[in-house]
């Protein structure tokens, strides 16, 4: 069978591409490397996505204009592709409606306990509910979905289109297709890749998202002449609980209470990040700092008052009645820890807070990688751009794999899902247009 469009990767970008291509009349095959229960990539861990709107809607209050989004993007991400950025801004207006039309339910503001947000909408039941809805829609529309199916290589076919080598349940098979949309996610979930880019320090890192977005297809595209974009060593890392899983810890292992206590490394020495503050952006400043600690390990120390003010955490903290006991449990030199806490109490970071009230608590922390600012260059039709400036008219890429075209550094909350959905949608439309004419 010769498919019109084969989408590699069943995350939010791949689902939007597959649905859009199917709507365009194409015969669509979707290859997802993960098994069914783990399908959907990192959008499973996403809570909300950014959208623009000129009036309050059922699912988002007040207004958030294209001009505001443009301004915020400009001051966050620096030098980026203008045309793609404008496309993103344009479609950020219609993406929520498109997702709703394809089965996604959004949570009305004021229900549940989600915080007020005029910039983002919240899928009811979280990102995985959104993924489930899109899979159900894709399936109903006749997209042929294969789980446990990893694309291993991509070859230009002699006559027309591409041949994809797919490994499924240990067996390899070739798939023939007129066009390919690569939505395999950003790089970073492959420990070997991380070690190559970040050195041995990367060994102590956790990956917050799916292990299946391992960047191998990105490497393939680049090896085949694709133009890389961004910097493989700039990334978004935040402190996560060192006791959490190596992959897929998602949102709950993030340590959110650093502003309530003191951070020490494993020798007991105090570490600090100048100007990290207590805004939500403090996480992204602490992650890189912990990455430079010995063993990529640090400990947040809280007293009872601090713990009471902290948000609940997935794993209960390590607690002890006294600081020396706590040091012993953490295998930190007690004298060093006590001395640093005394010093901290004399000059606390946040004037009002000291670590004095027993029992004491600690969270061991490691850097947790969210994504890397690195990917493949595309044009405004999502066609992969080669290093020599040429492009194949039947090879597209969308989602986190090309996010660096519009997001060269930093991050705006809720942008990941929006950009992946929007560019996925465009890639699917273009691929269908290419094959159907």
């Amino acid at each position: 069978m010769l498919w019109d469009v084969t989408v590699i990767g069943g995350g939010i970008a791949g689902l939007c591409a597959a649905i859009a291509a199917r709507r365009g009349g194409a015969a669509v095959r979707l290859l997802e490397a993960a098994p069914r229960p783990l399908r959907g990539g990192n959008a499973r861990h996403g809570r909300n996505f950014r959208l623009t709107h000129e009036t309050p809607l059922d699912y988002v209050p007040d207004t958030y204009t294209a001009a505001e989004l443009r301004a915020e993007l400009r001051c966050t991400t620096g030098d980026t592709d203008r045309a793609l950025t404008e496309l993103l801004i344009e479609r950020a207006d219609s993406i929520a409606g498109w997702l709703i039309d394809h089965g996604v339910h959004l949570q009305p503001p004021g229900t549940g306990v989600m915080p007020y947000s005029r910039r983002t909408a919240f899928p009811l039941g979280g990102g995985k509910a959104m993924i489930n809805a899109l899979y159900a829609t894709a399936n109903r529309m006749g997209v042929a979905i294969s789980y446990d199916s990893e694309a291993r290589s991509l070859q230009r076919a002699k006559d027309e289109g591409w041949t994809i080598n797919v490994r499924s349940a240990g067996a390899d098979a070739a798939i023939r297709t007129r066009s390919v949309v690569v939505c395999a996610g950003g790089p970073g979930a492959d420990p070997a890749w991380l070690r190559e880019k970040f050195g041995s320090a990367a060994e102590g890192w956790m990956v917050r998202g799916t292990p299946y977005s391992d960047g191998r297809l990105l490497d393939l595209l680049i090896a085949a002449g694709g133009c890389a974009i961004g910097d493989p060593t700039t990334c978004h890392v935040v402190p996560v609980d060192a006791r959490g899983p190596q992959f897929d810890g998602g949102i709950v292992t993030r340590i959110t209470s650093i502003p309530l206590g003191l951070v020490v490394d494993r020798s007991g020495a105090r570490i600090d990040v100048a100007g990290a503050g207590s805004q939500p952006t403090h996480y992204a400043k602490w992650g890189p700092r912990i990455a430079t600690c010995p063993g990529q390990l640090a400990y947040l120390i809280l007293d009872t008052d601090g713990l009471a003010r902290a948000a609940p955490s997935a794993l209960a903290p390590i607690t002890a009645p006294g600081l020396s006991d706590l040091a012993a449990m953490l295998a930190i030199d007690p004298a060093a820890l006590l001395q640093n806490i005394d010093h901290f109490n004399a000059t606390p970071a946040n004037a009002a807070r000291t670590i004095t009230e027993p029992p004491f608590a600690a969270y061991p922390m490691r850097p947790g990688l969210t994504f890397v600012h690195y990917g493949i260059k595309v044009d405004p039709t999502m066609r992969v751009v080669q290093a020599d400036g040429s492009r194949h008219d039947d090879l597209f890429a969308a989602g986190m794999i090309m996010a660096a075209n519009v997001l060269r550094r930093g991050y705006l909350a809720g942008l990941g899902i929006t950009l992946s959905a929007v560019f996925g949608q465009i890639a699917g439309e273009e691929a269908a247009r290419h094959v159907r004419g």
């Binding site: 979280g126 995985k128 509910a129 489930n132």
Partner: protein, 378 residues
């Protein structure tokens, strides 16, 4: 990572949920755990009955197995729900019968059937079972009125007392310190949640029967079952009013109020119960608990049999089959009442109590958020 003790497992999972809260729009369980660091027996007893088992948070959970966190909140709650029934039964000794509910319920019904047949045979002759009876008082020629009314009153009275006392015990476990006026103010919301079964709606799209897709099927079938049960009860009450106040004895004409209510109730309850049994057979076992499934199935079969046998009595009341059918139907009804206090029936008052507490809590949260007008005044 899951813990063997259901209490520890609940604590483990609820910690993860309260750090996550992605499911906060699905049902009131999530707002109730917002910001909470620890969960005691009362919390868990409350939350497990507040959960309507819509299974939304199973399909939508980013930490469901094979994720190492292996979060399965519906199954965790289902197990704890049964424990909360067992812990609050009245008399407490019934806790035993409850733990073997799938045996105790059929055994009780069998006993009730046996007693009914023994009474019919003991008070009349075997002929009474086979003869065609017609005209006013025909039913009492099968089972004399005093026996029928006596058994009905005894089993019904027992059910009401035992279920009420169990519910009060449960309320004492879960209730916050409340004033009467708080309860009265929360009542409209609680009643509407109880009557509409709003939280089988998964925050809007419906609940899951089998896979990721949602529907209102379970909610509608439950409305039919529960509504039919209520109509059948009304039919009995109206019939006894006819008997005592108007002095007219059953069987009543088809066009009479008791028969119309009974017919409507019997049909809807039977359809609802059979439909729910179908959903049970089709259900995904992963987010379910086998003990709870047995509890559901035992109760559903009983309801379906009560409904179907009542309809059969109506359909064949002027044939020789009436005696046998009536005795069976009465035995099943007495059995249903006798078994009620240690059956799935407890879910109704327990859930009603949990919904009342949720309404009280959300009222408190709302008034805590509202600006305090009093503090503005001098």
């Amino acid at each position: 990572m899951s813990a063997a003790d259901p209490m520890l497992e609940a604590e483990r999972v609820l910690r993860i949920c309260s750090a996550c809260m992605y499911c906060d729009g699905l049902c009131p369980v999530f707002p109730a755990i917002d910001g909470k660091h620890g969960f005691d027996l009362s919390d868990v007893s409350y939350l497990s009955n507040l959960c309507h088992n819509c299974q939304g948070c199973w399909h939508d959970c980013q930490y469901a197995p094979p994720h190492p966190f292996a979060v399965n909140l519906p199954a965790t709650f289902a197990e704890l729900r049964q424990r909360s029934y067992a812990d609050h039964l009245w008399p407490p000794i019934l806790g035993r019968a409850f733990r073997a509910s799938s045996l105790a319920v059929p055994a009780t019904v069998a006993l009730a059937l046996l007693i009914s047949f023994a009474l019919v045979l003991g008070t009349g002759s075997p002929e009474a079972l086979r003869a065609t009876h017609a005209g006013e008082g025909a039913f009492y020629r099968v089972l004399p009125w005093p026996a029928m009314a006596g058994l009905a009153a005894a089993t019904f009275g027992w059910a009401v007392i035992a279920v009420t006392l169990a519910t009060l015990r449960y309320w004492r476990t879960i209730a916050p310190k409340t004033t009467i006026s708080e309860i009265v103010r929360a009542l409209p919301v609680a009643l509407s949640d109880i009557i509409t079964l709003r939280h089988l709606g998964g925050g809007g799209p419906g609940c899951h029967d089998h896979d990721e897709r949602t529907s209102q099927r379970r909610r509608i079938l439950h409305h039919l079952t529960a509504g039919g049960f209520v109509l059948s009860g009304l039919s009995t009450i109206v019939a006894s009013a006819y008997h005592h106040l108007l002095g007219v004895m059953a069987p009543y004409p088809v066009a009479s109020l008791p028969v119309m209510l009974g017919l409507g109730g019997g049909v809807t309850m039977t359809i609802g119960a059979v439909g729910l049994l179908g959903l049970e057979a089709w259900a995904d076992p992963a987010p379910s608990d086998r003990g709870e499934t047995r509890l559901n199935v035992a109760f559903l079969i009983l309801l379906a049999l009560v409904g179907a046998s009542g309809l059969a009595v109506l359909g064949f009341r002027s044939t020789p089959a009436m005696g046998l059918l009536l005795t069976t139907h009465l035995g099943l009804v007495f059995g249903l009442f006798a078994a009620l206090p240690f059956s799935k029936a407890l879910h109704a008052p327990f859930r009603a109590a949990a919904l009342l507490r949720a309404a009280i809590d959300s009222q408190r949260r709302a008034s805590a958020r509202a600006p305090d007008a009093a503090s503005d005044s001098p």
